[in-house]
């Protein structure tokens, strides 16, 4: 039997629970694969290292991790690889030397562009926007924000990014930061929150302060958690990839490595119903473009994840 550990940033997060659903599905399809869904309860690198340590001791066959820190986990994951464990990262990656391949939920540049586009689409005249991110150490968010900053002058010159703040994926901190943005930038037109925790907090603040219609909250959100804010108009549209597919793919990739396939630039892996992915020269692969949710489809998707 192949044992694959799906390590997440923190337990309890709806996004990761959905990913686990996909992972279990993949395990069933592959047969003879057991998925161990685990992670710390606090989203810190140190806690995740303890989890990885115990997985190494259990001699699992593969670890698929969404990391709380791109660098701090490298040494322990290296040690895992030294002990013959296949290591991949997904969602939030680790530095290349700490994993064999990385599965991006989507193309980094594409996400960066999408989150800007979501705001710009509803701001024909342009205006001030601000970003409310997760932890300042979050790999994927930082990459997306970089990409977004690059795309603004090229494609959306009338969008003015005034600030980037960090809510640490903590609802209190995110709420406070959102309030801070609103009071510091009276002309703010949109808040972009590329994190499922932050986007809910920001939308709640906008709702509470009666700013619906004045400030549009957008970013990456889980439809089931976010539906009410599309409904009440605090947000016009948000985007996200399918976390179920993400977990599903991570298990497929990990299993492929366990079966002896090699992760090298240009290699192609097939992932069941999702199709196939090809590794780029940093051994990363990207899944589909983010999917957009608005009034027309949120109802339907909120029932799925």
């Amino acid at each position: 039997q192949t044992r694959i550990a799906l390590v997440v940033k923190s337990l309890g997060n709806g996004f990761f629970d959905a990913a686990n659903k996909g992972a279990q599905e993949a395990a069933k399809e592959l047969g003879d694969v057991e998925v161990i869904y685990t992670g710390p309860t606090t989203a810190t690198a140190e806690a995740q290292i303890e989890v990885v340590n115990s997985l190494i001791a259990q001699q699992v066959d593969a670890i698929a991790i969404s990391a709380n820190d791109p660098d701090a986990l490298v040494p322990v994951l290296k040690r895992a690889m030294d002990r013959g464990i296949k290591v991949i990262s997904w969602d939030s990656g680790v530095a290349p030397e700490g994993r064999m391949l990385h599965l991006n939920p989507s193309d980094v540049n594409l996400i960066g562009e999408t989150i800007v586009k979501l705001a710009a689409d509803y701001l024909p005249e342009g205006g001030d926007v601000a970003i409310l991110s997760a932890a300042s150490t979050a790999t994927n968010q930082n990459a997306w924000i970089e990409a977004a900053k690059k795309v603004i002058p090229e494609k959306y010159p009338n969008i003015n990014l005034v600030a980037t703040v960090y809510g640490d994926d903590d609802s209190v901190k995110s709420t406070e930061e959102a309030r801070g943005l609103i009071s510091a930038y009276p002309d703010l037109k949109a808040i972009i929150a590329p994190t499922t925790v932050g986007v809910v907090a920001a939308a709640q603040v906008v709702t509470d302060q009666d700013l619906i219609g004045k400030i549009n909250v957008t970013g990456l959100a889980l439809p089931s958690e976010f539906k009410q804010f599309i409904d009440n108009g605090a947000s016009q549209a948000v985007a996200l990839w399918n976390p179920i597919d993400l977990g599903y793919s991570a298990v497929y990739l990990a299993n492929a490595l366990v079966d002896g396939e090699e992760a090298k630039p240009g290699a192609t892996f097939s992932i069941g119903k999702v199709g196939e992915v090809t590794l780029d020269d940093t051994n990363s692969a990207a899944m589909a473009a983010p999917f957009q949710f608005d009034k027309s489809n949120i109802e339907e998707f909120s029932k799925i994840y």
């Binding site: 161990i36 140190e46 701090a72 150490t137």
Partner: protein, 332 residues
């Protein structure tokens, strides 16, 4: 006094030290540790493996190093809640030095030096300005980590040299890691310091009764100051190890370490009111916490569930002797 008075000879002690040693707190902790060890071996087939056991030690050595010095501080009746923040600041400044091309010895010196400086700052506020240590270190806890945030913001430092990484990842021999060896050495040093030197004797005296200790000519403030510096020093050492183990620095490093270290100290039989405790107890408590966490980890039980166990252990272990004497008194 006068020639006529007949002196009775006072014996050194009445009871056999061996016997009282067997009935001690440490003995209880040893039994608990052995029981958990055996339980773990039965619960998981992966537990009894040299490498597993070696990996296990990484989970607690840094906290336990701090706990050694914290034990002395708590025995003296003070406390330091800022230790985790000292780690963050020391690590950040090491990372900063790295950007300027510092090599391994310099990095270590900076980590340890910053630790001592932070400890001295705490010590000055407590002994110089006569402020309660608990509120002082709640303040410096924010201050030290806050400075780390100011320096680093959302950035991180990485690219520590391999020779530096050895401190947190290297093995001295076979499965014996450098961290473990260092912890063993420090445990012995602190044991000697607390139980076999004048300094340790005075620490106990201060904790038992700071007023009487001062009235007996003990330089209470000076000793407390040194203890804060020692706690800072150990936080600096822990910062070196942790930074080396993670291979990178973020300002959020070592979050929550302070309460874990204090839990080890209290579970180790050190009285939070000061005046009593032993290094052996603290080492055993660290081991117990490490064993339980790792054992549950092998069963993929989340760490937080284990915190219920530690919390309950903490209370039960202190309540039991009290209940015991209460029951005996009632019977009498």
């Amino acid at each position: 006094m006068t020639e006529t008075s007949l002196h009775r000879r006072l014996p050194d002690r009445l009871d056999n030290p061996l016997k009282s040693g067997l009935l001690s707190w440490e003995m209880l902790l040893v039994l608990v540790a052995v029981a958990i060890f055996v339980a773990n071996s039965f619960a998981s087939p992966y537990f009894l493996n040299a490498w597993s056991l070696s990996d296990l030690t990484f989970n607690f050595t840094e906290k336990a190093l701090i706990a050694l010095a914290m034990a002395l501080l708590i025995i003296a009746g003070e406390i330091d809640l800022s230790v985790a923040s000292i780690i963050a600041l020391a690590s950040t400044l090491m990372g900063l030095a790295l950007q300027f091309g510092a090599d391994t010895p310099v990095l270590v010196a900076i980590g340890v030096g910053v630790g001592i400086a932070c400890g001295a700052f705490n010590g000055f506020l407590v002994t110089g300005l006569k402020l309660p240590s608990i509120v002082v270190t709640i303040g410096t806890m924010s201050l030290f980590r806050g400075i780390a945030f100011i320096i680093l913001g959302d950035q991180s430092y990485k690219g520590y040299p391999a020779s530096f990484a050895w401190f947190g990842q290297g093995y001295v021999w076979w499965v014996i890691s450098f961290e473990l060896v260092l912890f063993a050495i420090f445990a012995v040093i602190y044991w000697v310091l607390l139980h076999r030197t004048n300094f340790g004797r005075r620490v106990f005296a201060i904790g038992n009764n700071p007023v009487a200790a001062q009235f007996s000519g003990v330089r209470v403030d000076r000793i407390k100051f040194v203890l804060f510096c020692l706690t800072g020093l150990m936080s600096g050492v822990a910062a070196v190890l942790l930074t080396a183990r993670l291979g990178s620095t973020r300002p959020s490093i070592a979050q929550g370490f302070e309460l874990d270290a204090i839990t080890m100290v209290v579970l180790g039989g050190v009285s939070i009111l000061g005046g009593a405790g032993s290094i052996l107890g603290v080492v055993l408590a660290a081991l117990i916490i490490g064993l339980v966490t790792f054992g549950l980890g092998l069963l993929n039980v989340p760490g937080i569930v284990m915190s219920i166990f530690t919390g309950a252990l903490l209370i039960v272990v202190i309540a039991l002797p009290i209940l015991w004497t209460m029951m005996r008194e009632r019977r009498a």
